[in-house]
Amino acid sequence: MSILEDRAFHVVLVSKGNLDSKKVLDKLSSYSALGFRKFIIHVLTNDERPLYLEKLRNIVFENIAYTLIIEYHKLSRGGLNELLNRLENNPYEVIEA
């Protein structure tokens, strides 16, 4: 079993413009109330790698309590479907923020 993914909650974050950090942080804390302490944030964006991380800075710096793993995906319908298929047996939520 992958230690990185063990008991993680997957957040599929579709980011089309400015990112609403508060919305994402609120989601993390609502899932932490269910016992999750590790979040894999799959960011689907048109921004370039790693420059897209500028928009996630607030989320990273506002958090000290949970493990955060940030992964990049180019924004596309096909890419989103492929990712959702991969996550089929995992707890996840798609957020547009």
């Binding site: 590790k38 894999i40 790693p50 800075r57 710096f61 958090n63 000290i64 793993i69 992964e71």
Partner: protein, 505 residues
């Protein structure tokens, strides 16, 4: 022919033993002042001894832990001095970077930068490392770059460099539990995440923390992780508190001694809380720990990395513990004093209550100035020389808070110590230095800056003449430091009339 598929490295400001004096490492966080850059660098961060493969005799402790974890997992991994990376280009698949302060955004680098307007030398040298032919060539060959360490967060403010240098992953936090899996993925060419923050839930257990395989800088050995004080917004306090068992500590001390390191430097957020129940010190555990170090290190120096001032006061007043440890165990043989880092942060009880309520425990935070003064007196009496930080410009700070800090510094005059002022510099402000200086630096701050400078220059000169760097081999270092102190005094004297004008309003 090299065999190392994983090379761990950092720039010279980190890969140095600072002439065996941790205090001198502070100079590596500033720009070259009053000395040519080469000389400054030699003073702050001289090269370390290496073997024929470029493996340093001493290396930063955190990197030693990662190296040990990877070796135990069966990888060919080694810390390599930055001047020898080229020797491993054929075998290297992963280049791991570690740093406390990659881009000089941490204290006190950012303050030096703010005040002098010059880029600190740690930032300059890290950039040089990343733009060196060997790192460039490694990247061209497809080597994966993974950056970690306490300064990892700074990459999020330097995304252009991240892109330019082709960093594959930045990882922040305690990595022992996850690093093996990450390396396996990188070696198998599987996609890596871009950023990982390891939270307290993934903190490694004692069993998952390996014993270092080769020596750490100046014999540093970790004795505990975490902090029971519970200050808000502090990631350290969220991690489960762990005391490293004495037999593991002994093993690491032996690794260091075997490599020729003469002393032991205990590392913890507060060394006096080793084995403690909450903030109640455990004299028995501390005495045992120090006896163990003395037994193993013979007459070699014993040092502490950090102390909390409230524990100093409490441990001495309740148990006479400071004098017992210092007189009976530490200050025997050649050791005449011990340097340690402490945080005063503010002289204002009001601000102490708001920003660091846990720091004064078991005393009320409103008593903070008295705690500081009493702890300084105890340390002076026992030949402990604190390098103390003060933070100016904390959000919510009033002029009266700064005046209280100035008053506290006056009260600390009789006690041998260095006081280092730091400015609370919000990220982003570094790009607008002049604006920040004009808008946020108040006359009261300048008053505190002058007081701390006068205090530190006075005591630095006293220490230089009495007991710092007494060995004949350290004479050139001593001479340069004396020159530097004189230069700072000269600059301060020259600036004084201007500053006094400003202080008058």
């Amino acid at each position: 022919m090299s065999k190392y598929e994983i090379v761990l490295t950092t720039d010279r400001t980190m890969m140095s033993n600072h002439h065996g004096r941790e205090f001198l490492g502070f100079l590596a966080t500033g720009p070259a002042l009053g000395l040519p850059e080469k000389l400054w660098l030699w003073l702050a961060a001289p090269k370390v001894r290496v073997d024929e493969e470029g493996k340093p005799v001493e290396a930063p402790y955190g990197m030693r832990k990662v190296e040990a974890k990877l070796i135990e997992a069966g990888f060919e991994a080694a810390i390599i001095d930055p001047d020898y990376i080229h020797k491993h280009l054929d075998s290297m698949k992963i280049l791991m970077l570690g740093h406390h302060d990659y881009f000089a955004y941490g204290p006190p680098s950012s303050e030096w930068w703010m005040i002098t307007g010059k880029e600190p030398i740690n930032r300059v040298l890290f950039r040089k490392l990343m733009e060196s032919p060997s790192v460039k060539m490694a990247k061209e060959k497809g080597v994966k770059i993974i950056a970690g360490g306490p300064g990892a967060w700074q990459w999020l403010w330097e995304l252009e460099y991240w892109r330019k240098w082709g960093v594959d992953l930045v990882i922040d936090g305690e990595v022992e539990k996850v690093i093996v899996e990450i390396v396996e993925k990188a070696l198998a060419d599987e996609p890596l995440p871009d950023y990982i923050y390891v939270g307290p839930y993934d903190s490694p257990s004692i069993e998952e923390i390996p014993v270092i395989k080769s020596a750490s800088v100046n014999g540093l050995v970790e004795i505990m992780r975490g902090c029971p004080r519970g200050c808000r917004f502090c990631p350290v306090t969220l991690r489960p508190l762990k005391f490293i068992p004495p037999d593991i500590i002994a093993k690491e001390i032996k690794v260091n001694l075997k490599a020729g390191i003469k002393g032991v430097l205990f590392h913890s957020e507060d060394v006096l809380l080793y084995g403690a129940e909450g903030v109640e010190p455990n004299p028995e555990a501390l005495v045992k720990l120090h006896n163990l170090a003395r037994e193993l290190a013979g007459e070699g120096p014993i040092g502490w990395s950090h102390l909390t001032l409230s524990t100093v006061k409490y441990a001495e007043e309740k148990y006479g513990l400071i004098s017992k440890l210092m007189k009976d165990i530490i200050l025997i043989g050649n050791q005449e004093f011990m340097g340690v880092q402490v945080g005063i942060e503010t002289g204002s009880p009001r601000l102490a209550k708001i920003v660091m309520p846990g720091k004064a425990a078991p005393y009320p935070p409103g008593k903070w100035p008295e705690i500081v003064e009493d702890a300084f007196a105890i340390m002076h009496e026992n030949h402990i020389v604190p390098a103390a930080t003060i933070i100016l410009g904390i959000p919510g700070e009033t002029r009266d808070d700064v005046v209280k800090t100035a008053e506290l510094i006056d009260k600390l005059k009789p006690y041998r110590s260095l006081i280092v002022p730091m400015f609370f510099v919000p990220m982003g402000a570094l790009r607008h230095r002049d604006w920040f200086r004009k808008k946020h630096v108040k006359p009261e701050h300048v008053d505190v800056l002058l007081k701390t400078l006068n205090h530190s220059i006075y005591w630095a000169e006293e220490m230089m003449s009495k007991f710092y760097l007494k060995e004949p081999s350290k004479f050139p270092v001593k001479l340069l430091i004396k020159l530097f102190i004189r230069y700072v005094r000269y600059r301060v004297e020259k600036l004084k009339p201007q500053l006094e004008e400003w202080l008058k309003g």
